[in-house]
Symmetry: C2
Subunit: 215 residues, 2 copies
DNA sequence: TGTACATCAGTGAACGCGCGTTCACTGATGTAC
DNA sequence: TGTACATCAGTGAACGCGCGTTCACTGATGTAC
């Protein structure tokens, strides 16, 4: 992971700090996160971090941006993995896949998810800064909905409130399923995705959904 | 607020500590919360708190329970304030009122809302402990949905997934609108409540909604 | 190719602070007789 | 009604700790000539 020979100059300390911070937060919670702890784990003196971040809070913001980037990447990967053919069915399948990826990310990295969406200094949403040049997750969702319009699955009017509805539902489910919440075991995910698809497509198109059974 | 004469015995220190903790968290954020800070503000020595709470975490749990109780009360008060007549319309108006109260609480007390729903030790949901003998907010929602069935507005089958849908949507909206999030200014609340009502009632009953315009 | 030197990216020690928690204590209260 | 005493609910001082941050520093790197 780190060549002993050039131990003095680390190479990419900034990234290492962010990644180690993510690891600490994910494994031991936000309370366990501190500049010193992260530096200790990376094997660097506490104030080496100040070469890369103004203060502790700046590091935490970088963690949030990193989380947003991870989420975005997973949503895009989920879309790429969709193999449904035909513009309409594919657009629907893509929307479903992003929702599933969103919730999967929240459940896989609950503490990171909380940090990502819990920082008031950097709320989620349009034009948010991400790590790795990833687009904002919101943009990914927009792309899915645009594709639905382009494929004539939904009308432009129907598109108007679609982000709000889809995002709200999926984010709400993810939040409530987090950390042993009641939805974690009580309610399976797929029916929720059905709700999202139905809600976005509208009542008239209910039977146009994916092969998944209605519950 | 506090009689100087019996300053030694406080009277109800436990409640005072919880309420002051809520105040600190709400005004200055969770980071500003500490046993010592809360005790200081109440005007009591730091370890007086240990007569009432096992440790700092126990106090924070009490704060979460208090928040849950506040939320529940506001939902119930919102229901009581509904003046619509007729069992069916009233049940629909009640559901809408609880959703509005839920979001209003989250926006009015964002930090408390986060603490209330962010503690993994005490996830929200059925049979959660509340302060003041309030029922769990989840029970209030259940009551609303039961009333819809009793008034024959929805079928028992349709009721099945209704909690999930209503709670998820409202909680998601509340979370995303928090702390200057993008939904705070971008999207008004009433259309979301329309979505909830439509979703719970089903496509067939779309026109049975409240007087509020469709957007 | 070799040397001088500015710049970059780290070290190591130290600071002051507020924290959670524990200790031995004491003042107020309520109950038994 | 009065007194003795157990119990309750607070005080005040102290502990050890890890934190964020700053200081003066030094080793490594890259560039100019």
């Amino acid at each position: 992971m780190k060549k002993p020979q050039d131990a003095y100059h680390h190479g990419d300390l900034r990234s290492s700090l962010v990644e180690e911070a993510v690891r600490v937060i994910e494994r031991e919670g936000l309370d366990a996160f501190s500049l010193r702890e992260v530096a200790r784990r990376v094997g660097v003196s506490p104030n080496a971090a100040y070469r890369h971040f103004e203060d502790k809070d700046a590091l935490l913001s970088a963690v949030a941006a990193h989380g947003l980037g991870m989420l975005s990447r997973r949503m895009r990967e989920a879309i790429e993995a969709v193999s449904v053919r035909g513009a309409g069915p594919r657009a629907i399948a893509n929307l479903r896949a992003t929702g599933r990826a969103y919730v999967a990310f929240a459940l896989a990295k609950p503490e990171l998810f909380r940090v990502t969406f819990g920082r008031q200094a950097s709320p989620p949403g349009p034009d948010q800064t991400c790590t790795n040049g990833e687009p904002d997750p919101y943009r990914v969702l927009e792309g899915c909905l645009d594709a639905l319009v382009e494929a004539s699955v939904i009308s432009p009017e129907r598109r108007a409130g679609a982000e709000l509805f889809a995002w709200t539902t999926v984010h709400g489910y993810a939040s409530l399923a987090l950390g042993g919440g009641p939805l974690a075991s009580l309610e399976p995910l797929e029916p929720v995705l059905d709700l999202v698809i139905d809600g976005v497509l509208g009542p008239s198109a209910t039977s146009a959904r994916k092969p998944a059974a209605k519950r």
